[in-house]
Structure formats: C-alpha cells, structure tokens
Subunit: 203 residues, 2 copies
C-alpha cells in the first residue's frame, strides 16, 4: 500500500456521470498525472486493436480492496480500498509475435529526463523482460517541445545502474539514442512506427 | 461497470490486518471464486520469475474509482469504486521470447467444462492474440479430480463459435486435446512444462 497520489486533507469526488462512459477507466486519480501522454497511448492502442496491428493494453491500476457493500439490485460498491505500488510497467501486449512491454512518462523539463520519474521495480521488471527475449522500452514525452521518444530499456537499465553518476538522462542523449515517434493524425502518437525502427536495429 | 460478484444485501469487511501483507492483492472478492487455482498459478509465476524462467503476471482487477479521501499523513483511501468488466484475460507475459496470454477457470463438474464460464470479450481477446502470433490458452482445473489442463485457444475459439451446438466441452475432449499439467512440489502447478509440449506441437 502506498501513499499515492500525494494530497492533503480533502475529499475528492468525481462525477457519477463519468462512471457511465467507457472513458472512466482513464479518469482515475492515478492516471491524471500523465493525462496527455496516457490518452494518446490509449488512443493508439485502440486504433491498433481495431485495425489488427497489435494487441497492447494498459494494465488496471492495482488496488487492495478492503470493504465491499452489496446494495440490492445494483452493482457491488467498493467502500474501502487503497492504491498498491505497481510491480510492473503500465503497458504490455503482442506485436507481430513479439512481446512488448513499456511505461510512459512525461516531463516538463527541457534539458533532461529525471530518473526519479522511474522506480526500482519498473527497471527490474524491464530487465526481466529483456532476459526473456521481450521488447522493453519507455516512451518519454517532453511536453514543452511536444516530442515523444521510444527509449530502449537496455540503455535505461545501464543508466539506472550508474545513477550515482547522473540522476537524469540529458535531452541530447535521448534524442541521440531514441526513436522519435512521428506525429500523425490518427493515431496522434503512432508509436509502432518508431518501434519498427527500433526492431529493425535489433535484428 | 458490472454487478460482480453477485451478492445480497450485506456488508463485507476484510480484516485491515490483511492489508499489511503482500498477499492482500489476492484477497479481492474478485479472486475468491477461483482461489485454489489462482493461488497455484500465482505461486508458479513467482517461482518462474525468481528462477528467470518466465515473466508472467496476473493483471490487477479493474475498478472504476469514483471517490478518494486523503487523510493527513496516511495513504490515500478509495471510498467509492466499482468493479469493471475486464476486457482481456487475467494473465500475460513473456516466456522464451514468446508472448503468453491465458485465463484460468475451475469447475466442479466431472463430465464437462461449461462454456458459460467464459465471456465473449475473453474469446475475442484470445483470437486477437493468436492473430498477432501470440500464444493463447486457458487453464482448466477439474477440482473433483484435481487435474489441470492447458487447452489451446484455437480449439476454444472454434468451440465458442459452435456453442449453439454444444454449450460445454466434454471432459473427454479436454483430455484428448489438452496438455495436462503435471503435479509437482514446487511449484505445485508447473504449467510451463505443459506449455512446452504445446509449443513443440506448434512448431
């Protein structure tokens, strides 16, 4: 259980109307931090699924359920639950027979990507994925430039181990070693195109 | 949002003590239905991860979060949430470079596995996985016999489409067309051994 997201003494209530729409799963507090990028990835994943290009889903936010109420004739209502620390990355799936696994992070920083945006367990998970022959990466979005990159997990893991030397990856290093995701109309973040470039470099 | 699990006018409260242990993620109401099999699979997945044999995780139960309270100095508390209908299967991951995707179902039936244990969206998801070159199946446990089988998604999908003819798969057909999971000590359900047989038949 983790104190996440941070907040102070207040009660938050999202409109009940939201629960009627399919979009609600994205309206968790958990996801609000990276709303822009996450929505773009969800949109791309929907597009890929509909067009039989890839099967990639965002994992649900893990919660520990403590109390549930069962009102008559209506949906079971969870009355007490807590956010758990995720043990993996947020996205995984299959693309042309390959196992794909990644996380997505935004930064408003213009010169570097701070490694504190990531957690030890995510890095360890990506290392495990690579050791099983999966494809691992993070999508980094520099919001000030509206630029998004696929940054390979292999580089990220090496930098994580050296983070006593550098606590961030410079923008220049990301531009040099990443695969920039081209902007397009539909989906707006067509990240499979950048992934294709990464995969062709791997083989 | 779904009325799930079924229940009548009552209030359920799981001990707060549970939230302190790592096991709590398995103590959701959602998982209680298939406790035995699910625990066995979780144990196997932990074993595979620790021994670098595979990276396979159970996905969190999807919930729609409506209300969150932020008490001072303690974890954010979800005060209102609802179970969502999962859009995929429960387990996925990577094994020797291959994308693995499955669901797990128990039955106390001795003569057949009723197809009503599955949902349309799970079948559709497995079909999407196969079309991307992933490995899809279900693990079926006959609790009365303490026998568990890997049943390939390709057969399941064909039978699902014919379900106007037969609303269940006979035990005999499962025995004939599945890969039985051998019982062992650690993990008790070593399903990768059965998966190896299935994979060698595929190639």
């Amino acid at each position: 259980m983790i104190n996440y997201p941070k907040g102070t003494h207040r009660q938050e209530k999202v409109s009940n109307a939201l629960t009627r729409s399919k979009k609600t799963q994205r309206v968790s507090l958990y996801s609000r931090r990276g709303m822009g990028l996450e929505d773009e990835i969800n949109q791309a994943n929907d597009y890929y699924l509909e067009n039989h290009l890839a099967v990639i889903h965002k994992k649900p936010t893990p919660v520990t359920i403590v109390g549930v109420d069962y009102p008559m004739r209506s949906a079971a209502k969870i009355t007490e639950a807590y956010f758990q620390k995720p043990s993996t990355t947020d996205y995984n799936g299959v693309y042309q027979g390959r196992y794909i696994d990644f996380d997505a992070k935004e930064t408003s920083n213009k010169t570097s990507f701070p490694l504190k945006n990531l957690h030890e367990h995510q890095i360890r998970h990506l290392a495990n994925v690579l050791s099983q022959g999966g494809i691992g990466f993070i999508i980094i979005k520099f919001t000030k430039f509206n630029e998004s990159y696929i940054y390979p997990a292999s580089r990220l893991i090496a930098q994580w181990q050296d983070r006593s030397q550098a606590r961030s990856i410079t923008y220049a290093a990301i531009v040099e070693h990443s695969y920039q995701i081209p902007t397009s109309l539909n989906p707006s973040l067509d990240y499979l195109r950048a992934l294709d470039s990464m995969l062709s470099d791997l083989t």
